[in-house]
């Protein structure tokens, strides 16, 4: 039972990270109708930028951890958001009215560019950082010595995710930008006729998605204490699985799917085998798409001829 509870905590934390990435997928799919294959790599870039900012701040002699964290968060969100914007501008916007597979292939190309760009600029080796946020709470200690730990970093990841999700839900449901986004999602031509700047709205979608991916990258860096240039690929597929599981196009769905994938992966590793945890995640993707193509909270897609 204690083991189960500990895995539950771990799974929820991992799921929060997946959920943050999944929001980027689901938003872009909702508006442009394409899988932003490079999104996992944007997450990786976010992690790298957070790492570099950390290093610089520390070498400047900053010691106040909350200040460091805040600066790192803002810097990596800002720069990664610019990456998202640039990617959309270069690789996707010229293809918006092209044939169906073109944006997908362009996105795969972009994913290769980003992966190898960070390999070329930062080297192929894994980059570890010393643990910044240490300590935690012991929730329960069983007689046979098994301890349920809740570390501070885990609390931070979950709180950050919840806060961001709240801000984000407000953004989409209450602001002008959110209304524009929902309008574009329903009918781009009609939205444009009614004075919505479609190009700008789509750009903003990519910017927000990339910013959230940057947060996920930072959380990953803090939680696992390392980044490497290849981490975006698998994380990206899993987050996409989460988005599909939750119902693509639905924001709460993306978060829910992220949590589900995080939990499944953690429990699979804990009770079955660590080696096959990725196989489990990919199999879920296949199974969900076959039996539940609209996901948990998605709307059924109407086939237009």
């Amino acid at each position: 039972m204690d083991y189960f509870a500990q895995q539950l905590i771990n799974g929820l934390v991992l799921g929060s990270i997946y959920g943050l990435i999944a929001i980027g997928y689901t938003m872009v799919y909702g508006i442009v109708g394409m899988i932003n294959f490079a999104h996992g790599d944007v997450f990786m870039i976010g992690g790298f930028i957070a790492l570099i900012t950390f290093l610089i701040l520390i070498s400047f002699g900053l010691t106040a951890i909350p200040v460091i964290l805040l600066v790192v968060l803002l810097v990596s969100m800002a720069i990664t958001a610019l990456y998202g914007w640039t990617i959309e501008r270069i690789a996707y916007r010229p293809l918006r009215h092209s044939f169906r597979l073109a944006p997908m292939l362009s996105a795969i190309g972009m994913s290769f560019v980003l992966t190898n760009y960070s390999q070329v600029t930062q080297g192929a080796r894994v980059k570890p950082i010393p643990p910044f946020i240490t300590g935690g709470y012991t929730l329960h200690e069983s007689p046979d010595g098994f301890v349920i730990q809740l570390s501070n970093i885990q609390i931070m990841v979950v709180i950050t995710t919840v806060v961001l999700l709240a801000i984000f839900t407000w953004l989409v449901s209450r602001t002008r930008l959110g209304r524009d986004m929902r309008a574009c999602e329903q009918d781009q031509t009609m939205a444009a006729l009614l004075g919505v700047n479609v190009d700008r709205t789509i750009s903003m979608t990519f910017v927000i998605g990339a910013a959230l991916a940057a947060v996920a990258g930072l959380m990953y860096l803090l939680y696992y204490g390392l980044v490497d240039f290849f981490m975006g690929f698998v994380a990206g597929i899993k987050a996409f699985t989460a988005a599909v599981l939750g119902g693509i196009g639905s924001l709460p769905g993306a978060m829910l799917g992220g949590l589900a994938i995080g939990l499944i992966e953690t429990f699979w590793s804990a009770y079955f085998s660590v080696e096959y945890k990725d196989v489990a995640a990919f199999s879920i993707l296949i199974v969900v798409l076959i039996f539940m193509p609209t996901g948990l909270l998605g709307r059924p897609e109407v086939e237009k001829v």
Binding site: L101, V113, V120
Partner: protein
């Protein structure tokens, strides 16, 4: 040439706006590259991260972006809007088709003669074998992507199935290549159907992601099922192919000894070359023949419009499954060839990048054009060889090329295949006939 007047409205504000655009681009580049290029991190020997600055590289990159955007902007103003697909004039078109008619036999004859011309140059022969392997993979994937229009991102899975089928059967049971080759194809086709069944209802992007996941699952299983596949260590000591039972080695009953000529290791290379050439031509021949059968027509109809296809009474289930199985079978053949040529296989050869490379070849070749795919494979693998010295930059350039090709000519660089049959004349239907209530 055709319309010089369209761009004359701009030059009044030309220089100022040009510089402004370039400045903005340079600024964006500065922010993008500031940390990733300007700072280099590396873990030291004690695990402590250190960093050093590279502002020189950063400055030169930003300068390149600044200059590059000026050049691109100028080119755009001179040439006219890029991205618009222009129609090729009929005179050029007929000239191209004339070249096209003679290009194929000329290329084929040249390919057959390659081992004769370059007999002494081992490097060129090896490269030619590699190119032909990708030509075959491209033609195999072409059935799925180019003809049936099903975007398959996990094609390398079938390549892996073929390679491991031969590798394991040959090392464990000592079966010969010629027995294993059809088996590898059948097994791969079986896996193709197995993948095909669940994805029947999916289309477009979803299909792509599921095939990608499938490819990764196969690779992960190969890595982790150590007792069968040897895990990351791979399978080694895979037997070389024999000339229909006669080994191509230095022994007494070897190929050279029986013919009474002096043994040379090049014999085997030449044999491998003709083997892959034969396999590739078989792929091509089968594809061309299939295209004339109802099933080939059904594939093309499926690619053009699935809903219309179903309305016409074509069984989309079997159509999709046969496309997957046919494509997978050729992938399996190529995999078996790869295993016998290398003598060693490991999961590292079957990554997603490989799938993307084959897909890029098909897309570059114009999705469905057989000649286009062959030329694209030559261009791709040849291009990769040019960048061999710059190993780390290779995939970077590859990714950029993929994006640029999609933007520049999304329908393929070299060829484009239109449907084999189509209505020659658009028939206007009187509105009286389709009015509501008359149906």
């Amino acid at each position: 040439m055709t319309a010089p007047s369209t761009n004359t409205a701009k030059p009044a504000t030309g220089l100022a706006s040009l510089l402004k655009t370039a400045l903005i681009n340079a600024l964006v580049a500065l922010v993008l590259f500031s940390l990733m290029v300007g700072i280099r991190t590396e873990a030291g020997s004690d695990g402590q991260l250190t960093y050093w600055t590279r502002f020189g590289e950063l400055a030169s990159l930003v300068a390149v972006v600044f200059g590059g955007s000026i050049v691109i902007e100028l080119l755009r103003q001179w040439i006219g809007p890029t991205g618009a697909e222009r129609l090729v004039p009929p005179a050029v078109q007929s000239g191209m088709s004339l070249i096209g008619r003679y290009l194929t036999p000329a290329l084929l004859i040249f390919t057959v003669l390659v081992p004769v011309i370059f007999y002494d140059q081992r490097y060129i022969l090896d490269l030619a074998i590699l190119v032909l392997t990708y030509v075959m993979l491209g033609w195999g994937l072409n059935v799925v992507v180019g003809l049936a229009g099903l975007l398959d991102l996990g094609y390398v899975a079938f390549y892996a199935v073929g390679a491991y089928s031969y590798g394991l059967l040959a090392t464990n049971f000592g079966w010969s290549f010629w027995i294993c080759l059809p088996l590898a194809g059948i097994l791969a086709a079986f896996w193709g159907v197995l993948l095909g069944f669940p994805v029947l209802r999916l289309r477009g992007d979803y299909l792509a992601i599921v095939t990608l996941a499938f490819g990764e699952i196969i690779r992960l299983v190969i890595i982790n099922w150590q007792s069968l596949t040897g895990g990351p260590n791979g399978v080694s000591g895979i037997p070389r192919p024999s000339f229909f039972g006669i080994p191509l080695d230095n022994s007494d009953d070897g190929f050279a000894a029986r013919l009474g000529i002096e043994y040379s290791p090049t014999h085997r290379i030449v044999f491998l070359f003709y083997l892959i050439l034969a396999l590739a031509l078989l792929t091509n021949w089968v594809t061309i023949r299939l295209r004339r059968l109802p099933i080939g027509r059904a594939w093309e109809a499926l690619r053009e419009d699935e809903v219309a296809c179903r309305a016409l009474g074509i069984n989309t289930t079997t159509t999709k499954l046969t496309a997957f199985a046919t494509g997978a079978m050729f992938g399996g053949f190529a995999g078996a060839f790869f295993a016998t040529r290398q003598g060693f296989i490991s999961p590292e050869s079957f990554t997603f990048q490989e799938s993307a490379l084959v897909l890029a070849i098909v897309v570059l070749g114009g999705m469905g054009s057989q000649l286009g795919v062959a030329l694209a494979a030559l261009a791709m693998i040849g291009g990769f060889e040019l960048f061999r010295g710059l190993e780390t930059y290779r995939m970077l350039v590859f990714g950029m090329a993929m994006v640029l090709i999609m933007i520049w000519r999304p329908r393929g660089l070299i060829g484009h295949r239109a449907p084999t049959v189509y209505l020659t004349k658009a028939q206007a239907i009187s509105s009286d006939l389709v009015k509501e209530g008359h149906g």
